[in-house]
Structures are given as C-alpha cells and as structure tokens.
Assembly symmetry: C2
Homo-oligomer: 107 residues x 2
DNA sequence: CTTTATTATCGTAATATTGCGATATATAAT
DNA sequence: ATTATATATCGCAATATTACGATAATAAAG
C-alpha cells in the first residue's frame, strides 16, 4: 500500500509529525539556521551556501512555508525571507510540551 | 536523482534531521506517547491502540530504536519497551538549543 | 515596453517510506 | 522437546520525497 494512515491519529499527533517532517531534512535545518544567522535575512545565497540547485532550494523553502514558518518581502531585486517568530515560538512550545510530557519509569 | 545529499551538511544538521525523521510520523509520536503514559511500559497493545498491523508497528518501533530511544526487556511472554530517559533528555536538549538559537529580526 | 535578475513551478528520474501478509525467530509454559 | 504466543524480518505494492534541468512568472531597472 504505502499511504500514511493519518486518520488513525489525533490532531496533535499529526501536527507534531507534520512539523517534524519539515525538520527531517538537513537542508531545511540548514536553511532555518542560515536565515536566522543573517541579521538581515538574505535569501538565495542559500544556493551557494548549500550547494543545492536553485529549484531544490525553492522547493525546500516552500515546505518550510507550508507550516507557516517563513515571511517574505521584496528588498530591491531580491525576495528576502525571514522566520515568523510568533509561529516559531508556537512550534517551540508544541515540541517543548511533547518532550516534557514524555518520561517513563521502565520495567 | 532522488538521493538526499547529506554530505553537504554538517553533523549536527544531519543529527537533527535524523531525529526529526523519526518524529515525522504520527504513529511514532503516538507510540512514544503511549509508552510513556503506561506506568509499566506495555508493548504491543499498540496494535490494538493504533489499528495498524503488527508488522507495521514493529517496523515503527525499529525506527524509534535506531535513534536509541527504546529499551526492551522480556516480561513474562511479552517484550516490554520503555523509553531510554537519558537519550530522551539528550534529544530534548538538542532540539531546545536548536529552537532557542533561531530567531530573526526581519527586513 | 523591454531587458535583466531572481524566484517559482513543471516534468521527470531515482530513491525512500509506509503498510501489510506471510513467514521466521524467540520466549514461556507444558 | 513441543506447543503456544509475541515480536521481527522479508517481499512486495503503493505512494511520497528528493533533486535537477527547463521554463514560467515576477519585479526592478533602463
């Protein structure tokens, strides 16, 4: 078969999985780190930085966008992305509570 | 094409991605939550709980095992899994520092 | 309006993931 | 040792992801 059975799981579980999926590729981790390192949020020297093709970077950016983590403005010729801080904090909260809820005293 | 170019990224970026990949499926999120909810860490009523086939659950468990998050002991007839708390805390730390390092004052 | 530079989308190939039935392996009980 | 139960692995089919070249769309500059 090969279809993910998301309907078997609750909304929060699917939400965590959906966000984790975005972080589940080193390029996207690197992109997020790069954007946040720049004071002004330069966009596609990401191509240079990572060594991936422009089309590939654009695709990764669009994955990150899907979970609401990016905001983009034109700045001169360049489309300039930055991280949506509110959404970032929200996601941080979701993971934090997921991590702290889990604990087990084993057999 | 279609091969993830992991060699383009540093060890930490790949590590974050590898862990996120495990959390990137709602079944695995549910499994972790279930194991931690049980006082004693029951194993494969996971099949009942989730509605996935036994083979599928076993496969998901093995993904979680790969990043060192599970410990298993036989308890009577049953193989009983629990979360490796040390590793869990380590991973929590990795994500926490990833999340807190990222911030951006946008254009 | 045309040109130039930047980013997005399309089409396609390679690979990875998801899921399950069938079967093998492992442990406890008899 | 044999049986019964639980878990792991194999093989396969369906779908998803990753990557890139080619091309379209967008915006500033001339």
């Amino acid at each position: 078969m090969g279809v993910s059975k998301t309907q078997l799981f609750d909304q929060r579980q699917n939400e965590i999985a959906q966000i984790a999926r975005v972080l589940a590729h080193p390029a996207r981790v690197a992109i997020l780190q790069h954007i946040s390192r720049q004071d002004s949020c330069i966009c596609s020297d990401l191509v240079e930085e990572t060594g991936l093709a422009q089309a590939t970077i654009s695709q990764h950016l669009s994955e990150i966008k899907k979970i609401g983590l990016l905001r983009g403005n034109f700045q001169g010729r360049n489309l300039c992305y930055c991280i949506d801080t509110d959404r970032w904090n929200e996601i941080q909260g979701i993971f934090e509570s997921f991590f702290t809820r889990i604990s087990s005293q084993c057999c």
